[in-house]
């Protein structure tokens, strides 16, 4: 019985370590970039997803003169790879949602403990606000 338990524990540990592929990272100790951060509000409807992926920061910029670019930095809190889909919606000054010809849900896979940014550019200069939706695969 003891042997069975020990074997099971060893197999479980091996399985666990086999699946874990967390990412080690190195970057400049004092970052030179000065991003323009956006104060955000979050609505969590999937608590499980909320525990797996953290939103580290949201920053914005203007590209091509007048087009809003939003970058959201995500972090996989687990040591296992996680696949998500995300989608950016754009909102005009009058609160109307803008149609995006190349919008839609996109996939991202974050390795264990990986931090990565997803970004999008509003194709209309009318866009002043955004919504990022994230769902688990």
């Amino acid at each position: 019985m003891k042997l069975l338990l020990a074997t099971s524990a060893a197999a479980l540990a091996l399985l666990g370590s086999g699946c874990a592929t967390s990412v080690n990272t190195v970057s400049r100790a004092e970052p030179q970039a000065s991003p323009s951060y956006v104060a955000d509000q979050r609505v969590i409807t999937d608590a499980s997803l909320g525990r797996k992926v953290a939103i580290v920061s949201v920053n914005e910029a203007k590209v091509s003169g007048d087009l809003l670019k939003i970058q959201v930095t995500l972090e996989n809190r687990s040591s296992k790879p996680q696949a998500f889909t995300y989608k950016f919606d754009w909102v005009a000054n009058d609160g109307m949602e803008l149609s995006a010809p190349t919008g839609g849900w996109k996939q991202i896979q974050l390795e264990g403990r990986e931090t990565r940014a997803v970004s999008a550019i509003a194709t209309s200069p009318k866009a002043v606000d955004f919504r990022l939706k994230i769902r688990e695969n």
Binding site: V63, T85, P101, T102, G103, G104, K106, Q107, R135
Partner: protein, 201 residues
């Protein structure tokens, strides 16, 4: 247990099972830009065109080269997009999305009366322009493009055991007509791996 109750329970379970199966197999509408579209290994899917166009448009807008045109919106003509994949695809699936996005951005308008090998997209507009100039006794005024968009689609297939991997590469170049220089170039790749097609990502 009461046999009547057991029968009713079994019938209900069977009905639920059958209706569940039916809803899985019956045709239904899905969001073209949603996460429940079919993913196939042997073809470029609707979401692949969408993702490729999205990445390439973002790259082009970020490059800020469109602002270099003397007037905005700049005129662009779509040149040849070569299809070097094994499939017969309509490259408009990519270029039209890019054109629409650039048009909405206010940076680009696309001419539909100029095309590769003289094949114009809007023949009526080209003829009407010529007719209008003829009736007015003038030379036809054609707005020449400042930019042209050209590109290529590539495909790479590899197999390991029963797992198949297909990579589609979408390459685009934006060239200024007056000097023939590619002022913006980029490519994006989409790789799909699996044993068979599936629904959803």
């Amino acid at each position: 247990m009461n046999p009547k109750f057991t029968c009713t329970l079994a019938a209900a379970a069977l009905a639920l099972f059958v209706s569940g199966c039916a809803s899985q197999n019956d045709a239904k509408y899905v969001d073209s830009q949603g996460p429940n579209t079919i993913v196939s290994l042997n073809s470029i899917n609707i979401q692949d065109w969408n993702n490729a166009a999205d990445k390439l448009v973002a790259s082009l807008l970020e490059s800020n080269v469109l602002e270099r045109a003397p007037t905005l919106p700049a005129v662009m003509a779509v040149s040849r997009i070569r299809n070097n994949t094994q499939q017969q695809v309509d490259t408009d699936a990519l270029t039209k999305k890019i054109r629409v996005a650039l048009n909405k951005s206010g940076k680009i308008v696309t001419t539909t009366t100029l095309g590769p090998d003289g094949k114009v997209e809007d023949a009526v507009a080209a003829d009407a322009g010529a007719m209008q100039a003829f009736m007015a006794g003038e030379k036809q005024k054609t707005t020449l493009p400042y930019y042209t968009l050209s590109g290529k689609l590539l495909e790479d297939r590899v197999k390991s055991g029963s797992t198949q991997q297909t990579t589609y590469t979408f390459q685009l170049s934006l060239t200024t007509v007056n000097d023939g220089l590619a002022v913006w170039e980029d490519e994006t790749q989409i790789t799909k791996q699996g044993r068979r097609s599936s629904v959803g990502w």
